[in-house]
């Protein structure tokens, strides 16, 4: 039985995972489980924190919300260790860790017997590399990462997840590794995990099935340089990476991967020449929180392709996949979705509909849905969708009253996730090159969305009752579409009379139904 494992490495790995989770929320993910693992020494990294929070919210909402069978959103079970087990390997257990401390440099230097080893360290690393704190990452120096990541703690979580869930048949464990090739952590971790003895043929993991046969089908996405940031080193950091280092680092890494035969069965090479700016300079920590980028989405799509591929033949040749743009713009038709050309149109429609429907759901739930939830029952019952769905309304019973205080938790979870999704999907849209969901249809002007100092950023969404035409034009480039009045007609038709459904779940399901129906009708106009 197939088991899927997704391993994100470093900041880029976190961000790809963010895109992966959002696509799963939208219903584009596989129907089974995907075990999630992250590797990042920078515990406080803003990107990592964002992804960690997102994953927790996804899992909580998925567990709390009873979806209808036809609703594919959140269908993927994203698995992390239960209880105290961590899904993030932070590499170092202590703070202010340096390479010198990690290898016991001072002890090596202090003893005549081991001094030659210290000399080797001196030969391979500069004093700056040996002495720089590594808890904010490897700062573009994969050689440091390669040393400290050499021994994976297979018997500890998160790697123990691999051991706990290792299937029996050949190629049944589909392990997908994603990280950047041009930074520090990703560039160090990718070849480490790709070494034959680490995952593919690891006796401890019991992945071997005789000669050259393994339970693990190993895939990897190497993310090539794809963004820029402004270098403004006000903290006077001594060791850090800048965009100017990216090409050199990438070239060196590609040479290395070419020379050293890694155990990956399938490689995806993903990059872009647009060089979009994604935020300000940061060596790491909480300040390293960047705007999402479509290359991260493309990398997540590579993971979906890998997990969703047909059963590969044993002993098959290595596969290399490269995707490139044919136009200066990235739109729905330019995203790489599948290795199978005969399934491309189907997958494209599936992906487009999943993201649009979920964007529609999130937007309408956060605006229309929240509005009616705050309304008094006697006023809301004038609306057919509400009256027909909550015919057995009893104010004191949470099973019949969607706005009951006991249901507030689910509504908050759904609203919070909807906000995160809309933020992500609208941040992808840079107006010039990336043309997916049109942020201008959803969000008030940029200035209005800037959070006040010390406050939690919250999206300010346009009121669909004021901007009645926007709902039908969420996909950038769509000039005409159905409007808010048609959406409301769909909402009226989306009532759920089923008395066995809990009111809060029913309320969310109604908005899913309406979003799907509206999207299908609207798509017919394109």
């Amino acid at each position: 039985m197939q088991e899927n494992f997704l391993i994100g490495i470093g900041g880029t790995g976190s961000r790809v995972l963010e895109a992966f989770i959002h696509c799963c929320a939208a219903g584009y993910g596989p129907t089974g489980k995907v075990h999630i693992l992250l590797i990042d020494p920078d515990r406080g990294n803003g990107n990592l924190t964002r992804t960690k929070t997102l994953l927790q919210q996804y899992r909580t909402l998925r567990k709390s919300f009873k979806r209808e069978d036809a609703n594919r959103a959140f269908q993927t079970d994203l698995v992390i260790p239960e209880g105290e087990g961590q899904f993030i390997w932070s590499i170092f257990k202590e703070t202010d860790q340096t390479l010198a401390k990690y290898i016991g440099y001072d002890n090596l230097k202090g003893s005549d017997e081991s001094r030659p080893l210290a000399d080797v360290a001196d030969l391979l690393f500069t004093q700056l590399e040996l002495g720089t704190a590594l808890n904010e990452g490897f700062r573009g120096h994969p050689s440091i990462g390669a040393v400290v990541m050499a021994n994976l703690p297979i018997d500890e979580y998160p790697f123990k997840m691999l051991k706990d869930n290792m299937p029996q048949g050949a190629n049944e464990a589909r392990v997908f590794v994603v990280g950047s090739i041009f930074g520090g952590t990703g560039a160090a971790g990718f070849p480490t995990l790709g070494a034959e003895e680490v995952l593919k043929f690891n006796p401890e993991l019991q992945t071997m099935l005789g000669e050259n046969r393994s339970k693990v089908l190993l895939g990897g996405a190497l993310v090539l340089p794809y963004f820029h940031f402004k270098v403004d080193n006000t903290k006077d950091e001594k060791m850090f990476v800048t965009p100017l280092d990216f090409p050199v680092a990438t070239k060196a890494a590609l040479h290395y991967y070419n020379d050293k035969q890694l155990a990956f069965d399938q490689y995806y090479f993903i990059g872009d020449s647009l060089g979009q700016e994604v935020g300000n300079f940061s060596t790491g920590n909480a300040s390293q929180e960047n705007r999402p980028h479509y290359v991260e989405l493309a990398s997540a799509l590579a993971a979906f392709d890998f997990f969703g591929q047909d059963i590969p033949k044993e002993g098959a040749e290595k596969n290399y996949f490269i995707a490139s743009r044919e136009t200066p713009q990235v739109n729905w038709d330019e995203l790489p979705l599948t290795r199978y050309s005969d399934r491309l149109a189907e997958r494209r429609a599936e992906f487009r509909d999943a993201l649009t429907e979920f964007a529609l759901f999130s937007y309408t739930y956060l605006t229309v849905g929240r509005k009616y939830l705050k309304m008094r029952h006697k006023d809301a019952r004038d609306y057919p969708w509400y009256k027909d769905s909550f015919a057995t309304y009893q104010e004191s019973n949470p099973k019949d009253n969607p706005a009951h205080g006991d249901n507030a938790v689910l509504h908050e979870l759904a609203a919070s996730y909807g906000q995160l999704f809309l933020k992500w999907v609208t941040d992808l849209d840079d107006r010039e090159h990336v043309q997916l969901i049109d942020r201008e249809m959803l969000l008030e002007a940029a200035a209005a969305n800037a959070p006040a100092a010390g406050t939690k950023p919250e999206l300010r969404l346009k009121d669909p009752e004021q901007h009645r035409e926007n709902l039908g034009r969420l996909r950038r480039g769509q000039v005409t579409g159905k409007n808010y009045d048609h959406y409301f007609a769909n909402l009226n038709a989306s009532f759920i009379a089923d008395g066995t459904q809990h009111a809060a779940h029913k309320y969310l399901n109604i908005f899913y139904r309406a979003a799907r129906a509206f999207n299908q009708a609207n798509a017919a106009l394109r």
Binding site: D382, P384, K387, N483, F488
Partner: protein, 152 residues
């Protein structure tokens, strides 16, 4: 029953049946009961048929307008305005019933008819206008405004 053109046709049938009941089948009751100084019962029946016909027609037209209004996409999102519109139509029809009764009184002022008959004619006019409108819209209103009629 709520979708077009079934609701339009059903309302026409309902109005037609009510008119036939009051203006044809019950014509003798309404014309032979009152004392008439000049007109014959047949002449009064002709007047009643015409006035009841106008009442039923106005009831039907208003109900059909309500269906049209309720089918407009923008109506569903503004039920406050729809409620006001419904009240306007209903009160307009009640006023019409009063007006038509006044017309009947004016046309028969020389007959010396007992006033209870004008009360009965007012009741019939009310049934053919406001009550017909209410019953028809209660049953046949489009989905978006189905909960607007009184008593829903």
């Amino acid at each position: 029953m709520r979708s077009s053109p079934i609701n339009y046709l059903a309302t026409v049938v309902m109005g037609g049946v009510l008119w036939a009941v009051f203006a044809i089948f019950m014509a003798a009751t309404f014309t032979e009961g009152p004392s008439l100084a000049v007109k014959s019962p047949e002449e009064l029946a002709d007047v009643l048929r015409a006035v009841f016909g106008i009442a039923a027609l106005l009831g039907i037209v208003n109900a059909c307008y309500w269906y049209y209004y309720g089918d407009q996409p923008a109506t569903a999102t503004n039920l406050g305005a729809a409620k006001s519109k419904y009240t306007q139509l209903f009160l307009g029809l009640a006023t019409t019933a009063i007006t038509l009764t006044a017309v009947l009184w004016y046309l028969n002022r020389a007959e010396g008819m007992e006033s209870k008959w004008f009360g009965i004619y007012f009741g019939v006019n009310l049934v053919l206008t406001a009550v017909l409108f209410w019953v028809a819209t209660f049953v046949f209103s489009p989905r978006a405004v189905e909960n607007v009629p009184y008593g829903k």
